[in-house]
């Protein structure tokens, strides 16, 4: 009898969780990893009772493969198996990447998987077998003893025989892993820049352009700048931002703090506000930070409902005091700068 397991993404990983059950006809774990069978492939085989096969030694018909384990840095292999409709486990932390990225979906692909990310599951809703094997005849599950651990180990030892990793392979793997990590870091960064930073720059630059070209900038310079060039003015701004009714409204996405920060930046550049007020200004415009997010943030930290009930007012009221206080501390720390 084959067992059902759930595989979730490891730290830094993407996709999944995958819940898989081998069947009589679709019961091979394909390990497409350099240097023998990967421990993750072995763990999947041990837990499900499926058979593990070294993909570099043997090929298998696609409809027999329940899951493919790959160590791909984001070029080919991580997309090849999803494209064929085979569940894919990548041991590297790679998301939707490479030329076949469009086939990589969370329903069929999971990455950065370690042995500890695989658990025996009692989930019954999944279809047995891989999507690729679904067209094969309805598999009748028959009770059959899964291989014992000793048997499995012996088979692995045989499969790995003559493939003891030499120093060159090991160095190659370390270098490969290093490069993969950097490459993925670059990918994450570009995603962030294109998805978040550039759009915000476009929005703020347009807004700022309109404000400065339309003459509205002069109004701001004449009204807000004088307030921001004095310590009491800053303290008052922080106090207002920290008022418990206002702070959750001013908080979302830090959009208001960012727009005000940019507007003040323009005033600093024009010399309307002296540069030594930069540090207190950073705290004055940000007394409300995260006040809109308290319940969500607390539940992310797995807080009890009661904690959230008292936590929200605790944070909001405390800001009323620490908001202005932060400005004063920042002012003290500005001494000697600029």
């Amino acid at each position: 009898m084959y067992k059902t397991i759930t595989i979730k993404a490891g730290s830094g990983g993407w996709g999944g969780p995958l819940t898989i059950t081998p069947t009589e006809t679709c019961n091979k774990v394909l390990s497409v990893t350099g240097g023998g069978i990967h421990p993750v492939a072995q763990a999947i085989a041990d837990m499900t009772g499926a058979e593990v096969v070294d993909g570099f030694k043997t090929t298998l018909p696609d409809d027999q493969i329940i899951v493919a384990v790959v160590d791909c840095g984001g070029t080919a292999r991580c997309g090849v198996y999803p494209k064929k409709g085979i569940y894919t486990v990548n041991v590297e932390p790679v998301g939707k990447a490479g030329p076949l990225a469009k086939y990589i979906t969370p329903e069929i692909y999971v990455s950065a998987v370690k042995e500890s990310d695989i658990v025996v599951s009692d989930y019954k809703g999944n279809a047995a077998g891989s999507p690729a094997s679904a067209k094969a005849a309805e598999p009748a599950k028959q009770p059959g003893a899964p291989k014992t651990k000793e048997q499995a180990k012996r088979e692995i030892a045989e499969a790995n025989a003559g493939k003891q990793e030499n120093i060159v392979v090991r160095i190659g793997k370390v270098v490969g892993r290093f490069v993969n990590i950097f490459f993925q870091a670059g990918r994450d960064t570009m995603e962030m820049v294109i998805g978040t930073i550039l759009p915000f720059m476009a929005f703020t630059a347009t807004l700022l352009g309109i404000i400065s070209a339309s003459g509205l900038g002069n109004v701001i310079a004449n009204t807000i700048s004088p307030i921001c060039s004095t310590l009491p003015g800053m303290v008052i701004i922080a106090f207002i931002c920290g008022i418990p009714i206002l702070s959750p409204v001013l908080g979302p996405g830090a959009v208001i703090a960012q727009v005000v920060g940019t507007l003040l930046g323009a005033e600093f550049a024009l010399g309307h506000i002296p540069p030594q007020y930069a540090l207190p200004a950073l705290f004055a415009i940000d007394a409300q930070v995260g006040c809109d997010f308290v319940p969500v943030g607390l539940s992310l930290g797995e807080a009890e409902p009661e904690t959230i009930e008292y936590g929200v007012p605790a944070v909001l009221f405390e800001r009323l005091i620490t908001g202005p206080l932060a400005v004063l501390i920042a002012f003290a720390f500005s001494i000697g700068m600029y």
């Binding site: 347009t206 960012q258 550049a269 944070v315 600029y338």
Partner: protein
């Protein structure tokens, strides 16, 4: 005719001013941010979040570390908004205070570690860009923003812990 073309020029002028600002940011801010973020992301990949988690679980019992080092590490390694999940390491009565410390640090951190809250860079960058245009260095501002941030989150954490205790104690009594 002149009037129409004047209006058209003024209209385009609104956006060409914005365009100049945009190009200034893209060339002045983006390249450094990209390289810095890539390096830090890679470092996080090499160190691994699990190792940080193990370390963080050990330091939650010390009040000072709970509202300084813990939120700093959470911000650097998990980034906004995942950082708040480290709240599960602290006791129930400290969760609100930890959240407050951790969220209050998500802007002071961006001067030195923009990756930690890349979606909200402009609180710092907006003001820093103005300082830069004056020809002044922003390094000192970033470092001081970070240091004052640490002091402020410690105060917020401790104070929030007290207020939380007072509120929950009064209601249950």
């Amino acid at each position: 005719m002149d009037a129409i073309s004047n209006i058209a020029n003024a209209f385009i002028g609104l956006f060409s001013a914005g365009g100049e600002t945009f190009v200034g940011w893209v060339t002045g801010i983006i390249p450094t941010v990209i390289c810095l973020m890539t390096a830090v992301n890679a470092l996080i990949g090499i160190i691994g979040v699990e190792r940080v988690e193990r370390f963080c679980q050990k330091i939650t019992k010390y009040t000072i570390l709970r509202y300084t080092l813990l939120p700093i590490l959470a911000d650097i390694f998990l980034t906004n908004p995942s950082q708040y999940t480290f709240g599960r390491f602290v006791k129930e009565e400290h969760k609100a205070a930890f959240y407050d410390a951790s969220v209050s640090f998500c802007h002071p951190i961006t001067g030195l570690f923009p990756h930690a809250n890349a979606g909200e860079l402009f609180v710092y960058t907006g003001i820093a860009a103005g300082i830069q245009q004056l020809g002044l260095s922003t390094g000192g501002l970033a470092v001081r923003y970070f240091i004052v941030g640490v002091i402020v989150i410690l105060i917020r954490g401790i104070l929030c812990e007290r207020i939380f205790a007072a509120l929950s104690g009064k209601k249950s009594a």
